[in-house]
Amino acid sequence: MTRQEISYAVGKICPQHIQEAENYLEGDCTLHIRFRRIMLVAAVVACLLTLTAFAASVFSAWGGDRLVMNALYAGDGIVWVEIKNQSDKELQLEPVIKLYYYSTQELVESTGEEPYISDLTIPANSTKRIRLDLRRTYDVAALEKNDRKDFYCLQLTNNGFSLGQKWTCIVSFVVSDYVTPYYPLTDDTNLKSVLPSLRAYFYNYTPDVFARWPDAFDYMELVEAELAMVDGKVVRPSSPMLYCDTYGWLSAGFDILTFDGYNKVMGRDDTEHIDYIGVYVPTMNDAGEFQGSWHIPMFFFYKYKVADVQNKQDYAFVRGNLLTFAEIEQYKVYQDEKYVIYEMHEFFYSDLRSYVEDMLYQRDDIYFDDQVWERIVNYYNYFSNKEVYAERFYYSPEESRARNPLTMGDLIEISKKGAAVSLDDFMYYSGGSNGSPYGHGIGWTFRIDDNYDVFCSLHMNGTFKGWYLIHNPTGDKIDFRYENVEAFVQAHGPAEDPYLCPKNGKLWHGAHTNLEWLAFKGKEINWTDFRLICGDPIVPGDTTAMRHRIDEDWYVEVYQKEVYQNGVLVDMEDFIYLVHETTGDKCDLQKDDIWNFLEAHSVTLRIEKHMVSN
């Protein structure tokens, strides 16, 4: 490594460290040292006093019990606190915090409201990340501004700040420039079965969809070398247009991916695509309003041609695991004359809670509470039962067309079941009023009574709100003006569904309305009556990966990457590939070439407008 590389690498360290050093050097450095000594003595005295009174009943920091706490500010008033409980006793925190200035120990002025804390229980001998949402408790802008140029101390307790034990760490409310984050797995139990040479790849993960590629390339080389030594046949999975219907499940979706939720390659290389179904969790905007959703992959389907897996001693390669088909027989969930499908989530995570927390940790705009967790658990329990898949796999009726050739504002018929017309037979696509496909949002239906549903669509850019009152038996759209729908809904009363309306009768996602559902008079609502109509929110500025199937042989991959100059976002750069399904050939074409290809195949894709507008 050259001196030049070293000095540039050091120059790129997070500005937070630089600012910390500046603040430190501007003040009296020895003050901190003296203060720390005083704190140490005070802590020892406090520990002694506390232990005398409560040693038997509460988490004890004495006798080898230890706790390590670190805090990292994620911006927008969100602080992630990592707590390592090295004792063999469970730690139960109280839902209160103290935030004070390091030098004076003066409390930071608060609104008096308690902050939202994602979790309060830290099991023995474990590490947990909890999410503090300080937005309603403190003036976040003032915290970030830090006029006093002091450090902030964050304190948690297990039994009140007067009598209980307290743990303190410094938190800096500095929003740093973007640095690719890497996180360790919370639970790595399931990695034990991964081939030893491949294990290192899975121990850390990054939420950055572009940073995952360099790691993936190294990994794929290792896999290739490893599989070359295998004495036997390693069967590649297939990607038929055979989909799992998540009908009847709100917030469940089905998709095809190369990378899993940890941004790790699921197959042996990036030409292998694995189907999954996952659960949507709500996201919030800067104002603390619900604005969209994010998808957590939960169940992973490895599909093979029946003809390819006649010998049960042949191998399947599943996320770093080399397994014979005899070994994975227990995971089989579907088989017809052409394809056999195995559901392999056990090789992706072993503890649901840890897995979900890892997924949530990747973003700071996720809303997560007991209710969301309950829904995830319900969802997990339901789809963990292999029997549910017996009737759920179906072949796409549009095999030679793009998967979602949608038209703005239209209700599109999908997988119609029988002759009856129902809202469940439709999915919805809408664009923003500016014609941009970025307006693509999530939509929900609300059953008003036997005859009417309300369909509402949320949009990430806030420029368009689609509200439809729909006659249920016919599917006719009665009115699309929001105020009329609102009046109708208010006349018909509220929904008390716990999954949709936990917030004092307001719509659960309530992003753009304060619609109250106070006196519901219609049909009793069951949450399985609802389903998420479409997902995949795309926000301007996000790095995004999209895949659009053209036919059995070809699909188009579109990536967007933010281009920065001197730390300033100057452009969104598109990467578009035409990829051959079987060979994995990747054609790095110009947009116009791809456009010509699509036209030649008579395909209308959602990316059409995006490509033209760029």
Binding site: M1, T2, R3, Q4, E5, I6, S7, Y8, A9, V10, G11, K12, I13, C14, P15, H17, I18, Q19, E20, A21, E22, Y24, L25, C29, T30, H32, I33, N70, L72, E144, I170, V174, V175, V179, T180, P181, Y182, A200, P214, D218, N566, G567, V568
Partner: protein
């Protein structure tokens, strides 16, 4: 003048912004540039280039911390100048600091140098988060600001030898950290 007012002047395209920036942070910028270049004239030139850099990038950029922003520009320019000037006599404080890090990072690697160079900033960030505040600040002062050990010792009211030992231990920890991460053999 407060930082946000200086930034506002930049946004108004008022040349007064440079004057205010210079008055407030000029000395600090010069100090860093001098630490790296060990030449007053080069340092001054470097600081002027940094002002121009700020003028060209604000707007559209609106730095949260103007001081950190300008210091980063100064350092980048100074380091570029430092490496570009191969004839420069290698006797700056920064040169010594770089020697220390080079020794720490120059062992045979298990990964390609280019990959390591790309990953190193992220690794350094993670490593710095794992340090106590005092060690972290010392490390940043020494290797980012290029401060001499004596100056750091004075600031921390410690003996220079103690600071040198602390830095050596931190480098050792960095080395072990990189080994644990699989970047060094």
């Amino acid at each position: 003048v407060e930082d946000n007012k200086i930034v506002a002047l930049f946004y108004e395209r008022s040349e007064q912004a440079i004057v205010e920036l210079s008055q407030k942070y000029g000395k600090l910028c010069g100090h860093i540039a001098y630490n790296i270049l060990n030449n007053s004239q080069d340092a001054e030139e470097c600081v002027n280039d940094a002002y121009l850099g700020a003028w060209n990038t604000i707007p559209p950029h609106k730095p949260d911390s103007l001081r950190t922003y300008i210091l980063r520009i100064v350092r980048n320019i100074a380091v570029t100048k430092y490496h570009a000037n191969t004839a420069m006599k290698r006797n700056s404080h920064y040169d010594v600091a770089l020697d220390e890090l080079e020794t720490c990072l120059s062992s045979p690697l298990t990964v390609e140098s280019a990959v390591f160079a790309k990953e190193l900033p992220h690794l350094l960030d993670r490593f710095l988060y794992s340090l106590d505040t005092q060690s972290r600040v010392m490390f940043v002062c020494r290797y980012w600001f290029g401060e001499p050990v004596n100056d750091i010792a004075q600031k921390f009211k410690m003996r220079p030898n103690s600071v040198a030992v602390r830095l050596a231990r931190t480098r050792d920890r960095l080395r072990k950290f990189l080994m644990k991460e699989g970047y060094m053999s």
